[in-house]
Each structure stands twice: as structure tokens, then as C-alpha cells.
């Protein structure tokens, strides 16, 4: 079973206690955006076989949204971090680079 540590309350929660929230760090496009931007925002999700950044909610716990860095091909978790950021913290990126040299996700590497 997937287990993630909630960066707010510190609980290491089973996935039954959490709700997945899809791809992390999306830029919202709305009025004034081009058709392509709006289309990509609505439908085009990163779907990597490898390193992925996601939103999760500690639904049956403290209720907070947070982020997780995870590998979709091994279910390895690299770390979790708070939601109030537009990109992953450097220490998590370094940790991923140490384990998976050459990884990419959007423009991160």
C-alpha cells in the first residue's frame, strides 16, 4: 500500500486516508488565454513512466492539500512537501537526481 507523510501534521498515512488530486504545479489558464493554452490546461496531463509530481489531500486526517514526488514505475516515494509552492523544493530534486540521473519532468531535470 502506498504511504505518504503529510508535511503538515507529520502523520505517515496509508493511501486509504488520502485522496489523489492529480498532476501538481499546474498553471491555470482562463479568460484571455489562447485555445491551445486552455486545452492543455484542461486535458493535457503529464503521464510519465517514471518521476511524477502530484497533489494529494490528507482527506481523512488534517484535511490539508500537499504535494508528493513519486515514481510511477516503481511506486517509490521521493518525498512530500507543502502545497504553497509553484515548484518542488531543491532538496527533493537533489534526492531524485541522486537516485535517477537524467530524469526529467516538464522543464525540471
Amino acid at each position: 500500500m502506498l504511504m505518504l507523510e503529510c508535511p503538515y501534521c507529520g502523520v505517515t498515512a496509508d493511501e486509504t486516508e488520502l485522496s489523489p488530486g492529480g498532476e501538481a504545479h499546474l498553471t491555470r489558464f482562463g479568460p484571455g488565454a489562447s485555445d491551445d493554452e486552455f486545452h492543455d490546461y484542461l486535458f493535457m496531463r503529464e503521464n510519465p513512466k517514471g518521476v511524477h509530481f502530484e497533489r494529494w489531500r490528507h482527506a481523512y486526517g488534517c484535511g490539508k492539500w500537499f504535494h508528493a514526488a513519486r515514481a510511477t514505475d516503481t511506486l517509490e516515494v521521493f518525498g512530500t512537501y507543502p502545497a504553497q509552492t509553484t515548484k518542488p523544493p531543491q532538496e527533493i530534486l537533489d534526492k531524485i537526481s541522486a537516485k535517477r540521473p537524467g530524469w526529467t519532468w516538464r522543464d525540471l531535470k
Binding site: M1, L2, E15, T16, S19, P20, G22, D35, D36, H39, L42, F43, M44, R45, N47, P48, K49, H52, E54, T72, D73, T74, L75
Partner: protein, 414 residues
């Protein structure tokens, strides 16, 4: 190819079964093909089969990184139905269901199609209205379904508990010409027919690159070397995003795990397929007597072909309430497959931004039933650039707002 028949069985019985041929060849790849199909699952093989049968295109290779039908073709719950809400879905799924009726004869391979009937249970008032609407839509589409009451459900499925405490059975959508088939046999039958037409089914051949020149595909790089082609069909279900990435475009798809399980075999007790979408569970009984059980997909991206235990628990919990008799059954096996989910829960059969590259993906949790219809339409799309069966399922429908919204109609079990 020697035909399979009662006579062949008798002949071989008299000579110690020494005369059976290999069902399909295992050739090394040639330098160039007219069409390469990536993915030797049901959809890929059916596409190749109809390219040969309908359009005479037989210089075709089907490349498979693992083994024949080793992905979702061998991992599903084998349900075949066509009771969809939207017209484009009804057209392709009904075509598919009708092709299943004659598949064993068409392929000279027994795929054990069993039109035993499929019931989708209505367990909330919302579902009652939804399925009545679907039944009316199906009547207009020429798909034979009917809405039935709880007494008729009980008559068709004596082991069901229609007075469940939380979700009593209020009725159901009944398709008496739906059913099941032997999933591996579908892949094997198509592979044999393709091989017989002179096509190359190449297993353990992973595509590692898609070569393009001036925006047009010219070939693929594989674990067995470079292979050239005029046209390329990508038919790889859960790994569609990975292949699209190699070809340089993106797909509106996310890959998640979907699980199924079977019980120990028991005597025949249920001769229809029952789907309970509100409680996330569906069940049928295989010819071996195992209860074949499926449920909802996991909620997060996953390529590992194994799912989360609590989804099995939820599915089984729901089914025990619906079928109290199974509560003491032991479960024999559980497995997962990676399904490719689109936003509107309908597939993508389409040209792509790369000339000569076509994609067939996004069947999500319900691809098995669509295999022959999907191949029938996809072959026409590859051969002619357009097909009445597939045109509505194009990649640009998301941008143009032409969704084929089956996420509500199909519920979770698809």
C-alpha cells in the same frame, strides 16, 4: 495453414497429435513494411487483420515488446456489451459485438464467445433514470437492450440479493446479446490469421524510437534493429503516452492501474454477467467455474501492473452484499493492468500531428469488448485516412469540445 475442424481433431487423434502446426510464425523483422503496428494485443492484431482482410495490405509487421496478448488483452474480465449512451460509442461497440458473434468462424479459431447476457444493476433512483434513458437511446441506435424490473433481475440471477440494506436492486439494463469470450483466444486467433496472411508478428521487440523526416514517419528503432515503414499504428493501451512521447506529441491520457481477481472454481451458479456500478463491482462465472470479479480503477498514475489492496477490498465488500453466497469463497488470483484514461472516458482513434502515424488508445477500463470493431475501423483509418466508425473519436475532439461523454453513462465499470 491447416484449418482447425472436427475432422482435424479426429485425424490427429489417430496419429498421436503429431501433425499440429505452429499456430503462427516467429520471424525476424524485415527491413521495411508498408505498415507497422506497435502492440500485439487484441486491438493491434485486429487492426492488422482487417488491414489485410478489408484492404489487402499484407506487408505488415506487428511489434510486441512482451508476448502476444500479455498486456490488457490477457488481464481483463472478458465482458462484451454495447449498451452505451452516445451514438458514436454505440456504433463502434455494436459493430464490435456483432463481429464477436462470427469471430470463431471468421478466424477458424474458437474464441468461445458466449452471448449469455449482461445486466447492469440500477441501485439508485439516479441509475434507474439513467438506464431507462440508455435503453431508449439504444432503441434509436439499433442496439437491442431493455430496462427490466427487480423481479426479472432476480429471475435471471437467482443468487442475487435484491433487498440489500444500503443499495437494493431497483432494476437493471439488460442486454441479452452481450456476454463474454476467451480473451487469450482472441489474441491467438488474430495472430494466427495475420501470420497466415503473411504478416510478421514479432514478439520481444521493443520500440525505442520513432524516426521522422520532415514531419513524416519513416521507421522505428527497436530492440531488434531499425525497421522502415510507410505508416505506423500505435496501439499500446497503458503505454500510449510513452510511445507518443517517442513520436514527439502529447496525449490527453493518464495511465492508472485496474485490477481483477478470480475465485476458486465452483459449480455453475450464475449464467449472466452482472455489473453493479454504484457499488463498484462486476462479476461473471467462467467456463471453469471461477467467479471473475472486477472493480474500480485506482486513483493515481501507475505503470506497475499491480494495484492497491483496498480497491480489491472495496470491490469484494460490495459484491458480498449483492451476492451473499460468495462470502466464503476463497480468491485464487489477482492481477492488475495499466489502463489509459481519457477525460471523456471514450477512446482515441485518430491521425496524429506526425504524418503517417495513427493512434488507437484511451479505451480505459473497457477495451476488450471493442477489439474487433476497433480493428475494423482503425484499419480503414490507416488505409484511407478516415473511417465512419472512428472519425468522431479523433484527437482534436477535446479542443473542439466534441466530447463523447461516457463517464456518466458507463459509470465506473466500463
Amino acid at each position: 495453414m491447416r484449418r482447425y475442424s472436427a475432422f482435424a481433431v479426429a485425424r490427429e487423434a489417430l496419429r498421436y497429435h503429431s501433425g499440429w502446426e505452429r499456430a503462427w510464425a516467429s520471424p525476424e523483422p524485415k527491413k521495411k513494411y508498408d505498415v507497422i503496428i506497435i502492440g500485439a494485443g487484441g486491438h493491434g492484431l485486429a487492426t492488422a487483420f482487417y488491414l489485410g482482410k478489408r484492404f489487402g495490405i499484407k506487408n505488415v509487421a506487428i511489434l510486441e515488446k512482451g508476448w502476444l496478448g500479455g498486456g490488457n488483452t490477457g488481464r481483463n474480465t472478458t465482458i462484451i456489451r454495447s449498451n452505451y449512451l452516445q451514438d458514436p460509442s454505440a456504433a463502434i461497440y455494436e459493430k464490435s459485438r456483432s463481429l464477436y458473434e462470427t469471430m470463431s468462424q471468421d478466424l477458424n479459431y474458437n474464441v468461445m464467445f458466449s452471448p449469455r447476457g449482461v445486466i447492469m444493476l440500477a441501485q439508485t433512483h439516479h441509475e434507474v433514470r439513467g438506464y431507462q434513458r440508455t435503453a431508449h437511446a439504444n432503441a434509436l441506435q439499433g442496439v437491442k437492450t431493455e430496462y427490466i424490473g427487480p423481479e426479472r433481475v432476480k429471475e435471471l440471477v437467482p443468487i442475487i440479493n435484491i433487498n440489500g440494506p444500503r443499495y437494493p436492486v431497483l432494476g437493471g439494463l439488460w442486454q441479452d446479446r452481450g456476454g463474454t469470450a476467451r480473451h487469450d483466444a482472441v489474441a491467438w486467433g488474430y495472430a494466427r490469421a495475420c501470420s497466415d496472411m503473411g504478416m510478421d508478428v514479432i514478439q520481444k521487440c521493443e520500440v525505442t524510437g520513432i524516426r521522422r523526416e520532415s514531419g513524416r514517419v519513416v521507421g522505428v528503432s527497436t530492440s531488434k534493429g531499425e525497421i522502415d515503414c510507410d505508416k505506423l499504428g500505435i496501439v499500446v493501451a497503458g503505454h500510449s503516452g510513452v510511445l507518443a512521447d517517442l513520436a514527439g506529441f502529447r496525449l490527453p491520457i493518464e495511465s492508472v492501474a485496474l485490477q481483477a481477481l478470480v475465485s476458486e472454481p465452483i459449480k455453475p451458479c450464475m449464467d449472466v454477467v452482472v455489473m453493479a456500478n454504484t457499488v463498484h463491482g462486476y462479476m461473471s462465472q467462467s467456463d471453469k467455474g471461477e467467479m471473475v470479479i472486477g472493480g474500480g480503477a485506482d486513483g493515481y498514475n501507475n505503470y506497475t501492473q499491480r494495484g492497491s489492496f483496498h480497491h480489491i477490498e472495496e470491490t469484494v465488500r460490495a459484491l458480498i452484499e449483492t451476492f451473499p453466497m460468495i462470502s466464503r469463497l476463497k480468491m485464487l488470483r489477482q492481477w492488475g493492468g495499466i489502463v489509459d484514461m481519457t477525460g471523456d472516458r471514450s477512446p482515441i482513434l485518430s491521425k496524429t500531428p506526425v504524418d503517417g502515424v495513427f493512434i488507437n488508445c484511451g479505451w480505459g477500463t473497457g477495451g476488450f469488448k471493442a477489439i474487433p470493431g476497433s480493428g475494423y475501423g482503425m484499419a480503414e483509418l490507416i488505409a484511407k485516412g478516415s473511417s465512419p466508425l472512428t472519425d468522431a473519436f479523433s484527437l482534436n475532439r477535446f479542443k473542439e469540445g466534441r466530447f463523447i461523454d461516457e463517464s456518466v453513462a458507463a459509470g465506473v465499470a466500463h
